[in-house]
Assembly symmetry: C2
Homo-oligomer: 554 residues x 2
């Protein structure tokens, strides 16, 4: 039994240094609950890395306490670490979420050959007990159906986690945020609120998802030929609106792109996406229909080079191609970092003679995250004693903290944490606690390791200036140079025979100088080769390729 | 003398495949005039490349015809190829532009040790004759002062080139677009209009530069401590407004960042930027002033890692640091591709405890390019017989062409060209002509060469998966393996001794198999090593590092 004055510890392991890899641990006595287990996608700073996970060593070390994993919704920044975490845990820990979210997770786990996970389906209003935690789920609106917020009652205090949310009064599936539950919890008293900060710098109120429908229908109705709509495959409400608009104007829908095919299948089976079978046709049957009766729902809204839209735009899709007279709707916003890839596809499509609609020309996308007015409204409804902004970059967390001050929460009760920091709650009071091991883990092919800055720095350097290998074979019997082999990759001057010849001569004379007399250690020669070659190349080319010297005695 | 029915040829060498490296050649008989000579900055697709230039071989081959180079304004995408072009030309060709533009170019040429260029200063309304070309300059408004449009009268037809422009009725320096001249040329008849397409997808009318003033003044006035404003150093009107706001609220201005120091100096000397000496102070004198009397004007609005703002945010600036209570204004938009770098700096500043204002929170930036209503207005004023959208990516050119159709220009008279294409104008009629050599040239250190796709592909591959060098020394006398040296850079498994040992064993047995009997050619062994190592690493790591095999006989 925990002592009477035990603290509830809130430990974010991810999600506070960017939009991604959300994972927060809640611990009281011998009981631990995790909310979300997400991944993050790498950017230019992490070349060649496939995925980034939060370092969840702390969870593994305390596995015996872990009573359950709660997933608020089905986006990868909330679910994507699960395949890795589940394989690292020695016990089967139950996973609590909505039917749709579990359906999406099931598919992902199957890809990793993870069999029969312990799924526990919950609904809006479901209450579960995990050790000292009494947990209630409540409906929230977001850019994926069946998203939850979480209320936790513990002996040390009450906590609410909004999950990702916007406050949509006219959601496509009619499932509004459960304001009654939120206000009931508020009446019980919330000691700490954790709330989504993604749009904390954006003034106003995010428009309802329903606002997108008329623009989609208008474009689809008036398009002279086929219409291609690229969107997030998990954005079932958006897909529903695209399907509804298509059917309303007498068009059939074709679905293409792996995740789009998978997610529409799951969502239709589970009853989240409704379109009659006769209105969905196979890509191979398209030729039977006139262009003006076709809508193609596809992946590629982020400019991904292997996506359906990119393949179609480049004439590399197995069954579909885009041509003059087609209309393309990008029903999504580029995620920061993807702007140029998206623009490249738009340019390819423009050259083909397509009309393109994106957010800048028509209301074909709205955010799934609440803006400042919604965040303040949430704070005003919940009236938390303490506030911890989550799910955002430093700018967003700070902006959210300022909003909380505006709503009347004293600055001393607002806690901007870093991943691995902890917040301790006792008798309604919160204060910072000790930090735990945290960080990031890189998935690089089959290797899943702590971030190694040397590897990434080397890759960036290789990308900048290429590599020169210089192999020197020295005859051990007389310290003379047997062979010098010099080759470059990713360097503009590799085919400049004069320069490469001069470089070879330089290495030879450098080695001969070092070896004169009794010879030198291999290490000395290696360093000498590297330095002289680097300096020579800088002086001749003003580039600094990575020099890999290999010195061997033969 | 050209024949009576000679054509005026319009040949864009750059600027039609993206925002950058603008360069257009106009040729009639034995006379050639160039408008703009710009560069483009590389993106992720060109790792390690310093700059991208248009391939101007065609100009060098016809140098004897080149009568002059006209520069519309001082931005690098219109001037940056000049240092390279001037060095490649054998004669001194005169350069025509405004006082400010020439002042900016002079500084750049000096950096390249180009002495006493043939500068010819022109004003709004200036008319010059270059061979068969009668050329008139007219004032336009843009995000840099002293920008021109160009009207050309030739025996084969009249052409107008807008340069980069917006239609600003309340420009900071009072120099409005010369509508009278534009309408006078229109009355003479314009056979071809070339017009700026940058914002052709943006509805409405771009706000006046003056719209930014009140927001800047409000933030600067109410900031509790120092205010740092990052902007483009060539945006003299913006700098003027920042200086004016600072002086109006009793603050002194400090200028930092190399290009900001240079450009403010040039602009003040030439009379384009007006601020009294007593209101500008040196960074080292800052400590004498209280925080609330300071504004720092700095570079870094694009998140450049070596810029003043980045250095200050990271505590690496020689004289200034940013701390809690400071306010930072990003008075610029991130250029596509720079979004993440800018956001990274904003996050660093947020962690320091700064208040940050960018375009999403206050009107601290407006574009320098006209939106759809301005583009249509220009088309309506000019009433060109033929239209050629320039200065944009494929999407922008197509959007601009659609606007032209809306204004009544028949589709057959609208020409979307690629770089290197030509348009021939005769008796007011335009048609596509033959193409000329064109393309891009990369500046990579000291090497200035045609784009080499192999080099860039290798760099991207090196960045993705790193490099493995495998050196095999074979004793020529008995075909046995003398030494195997295996090393990796930028690979996560380079320190995995078991894996590296297994790889070495694999290479040894592969080489021994190949060398059995009479031995094998070095090339055969090299290929064998590369293939077996690549396959082994893929099977063990699911990565594909570049394998550089070096096989030598000793």
């Amino acid at each position: 039994m925990p002592k009477k004055d035990s603290a509830l510890k809130i430990i974010p392991l991810g999600g506070l240094d960017g939009i991604g890899k959300n994972m927060t641990v809640f611990e009281y006595g011998n009981d631990m609950v995790m909310i979300d287990a997400g991944l993050m996608f790498p950017d230019d700073e992490q070349p060649g890395i496939d995925l980034i996970l939060p370092d969840y060593t702390y969870v593994l070390e305390n596995e015996d306490k872990l009573r359950g994993i709660i997933i608020t919704h089905g986006h990868e920044d909330h679910t994507g670490a699960l395949p890795y975490l589940l394989q690292d845990l020695t016990h089967k820990v139950p996973i609590y979420s909505s039917k749709l979210t579990l359906g999406i997770i099931e598919g992902k786990l199957a890809e990793h050959n993870i069999k029969s996970p312990k799924f526990r389906e919950v609904q809006d209003g479901s209450t579960i007990t995990l050790g000292a935690f009494n947990i209630t789920f409540f409906a929230m609106t977001h850019s994926i159906p069946a998203a939850f917020g979480v209320f936790m009652n513990t002996p040390a205090g009450n906590v609410m986690h909004t999950g990702d949310f916007k406050l949509d009064q006219t959601p496509i599936d009619g499932v509004r945020p459960n304001y009654a539950a939120i206000n009931r919890f508020a009446a019980e008293g919330i000691d700490v609120l954790l709330s989504d900060s993604t749009n904390a710098t954006r003034p106003g109120f995010t428009p309802s998802e329903a606002a997108v429908g008329p623009a989609l229908r208008h474009i689809i109705k008036n398009a002279p030929g086929r219409v291609f709509v690229a969107s997030f495959s998990s954005h079932i409400h958006r897909l529903q609106q695209i399907c509804d608009a298509s059917v309303a104007v007498g068009r059939k829908v074709v679905v293409t792109g792996r995740s789009m095919v998978t997610n529409t299948k799951v969502a239709r089976e589970l009853g989240y996406l409704r379109i009659a079978d006769e209105n969905i046709i196979d890509a191979y049957d398209l030729e039977k229909l006139p262009d003006e009766q076709i809508v193609v729902l596809c992946t590629g809204s982020q400019g991904e080079p292997l996506s359906a839209l990119a393949r179609m735009a480049n004439g590399e899709h197995k069954s579909l191609s885009i041509h003059e007279g087609d209309t393309v709707i990008i029903s999504a916003n580029p995620i920061p970092g993807n702007e140029k890839s998206v623009q490249a596809i738009i340019n390819s499509l423009s050259k083909l003679g397509c009309d393109i609609y994106d957010k800048s020309q028509a209301l074909v996308h709205v955010s799934g995250h609440g803006s400042q007015e919604e965040l303040k409204l949430m704070l005003a409804m919940v009236k938390p004693r303490n506030f911890m902004p989550v799910h955002g970059e430093a700018q967003h967390l700070r902006a959210h903290a300022k909003l909380a001050q505006q709503v009347g929460i004293p600055e001393r009760n607002i806690f901007i944490l870093d991943n691995g920091d902890s917040l301790e709650v006792r008798h309604g009071k919160a204060r910072r606690g000790p930090s735990v091991d945290s960080g990031v883990v890189y998935v690089d092919g089959l290797s899943i390791t702590d971030a190694n800055p040397v590897v990434l720095r080397d890759r960036q350097r290789l990308a900048q200036d290429g590599v020169i290998t210089c192999v020197v074979a020295i005859r051990s019997r007389n310290h003379s140079v047997d062979t010098i082999d010099l080759s470059g990759r990713g360097v503009s001057f590799a085919t400049d025979e004069v320069l490469m010849g001069d470089a070879r001569d330089l290495v030879r004379s450098q080695v001969e100088r070092l070896e004169k007399g009794n010879g030198a250690s291999i290490d000395t020669v290696r360093k000498g080769v590297r330095n002289s070659l680097s300096n020579f190349l800088w002086s001749k080319t003003h580039t600094r390729p990575m020099v890999i010297p290999v010195v061997m005695e033969v």
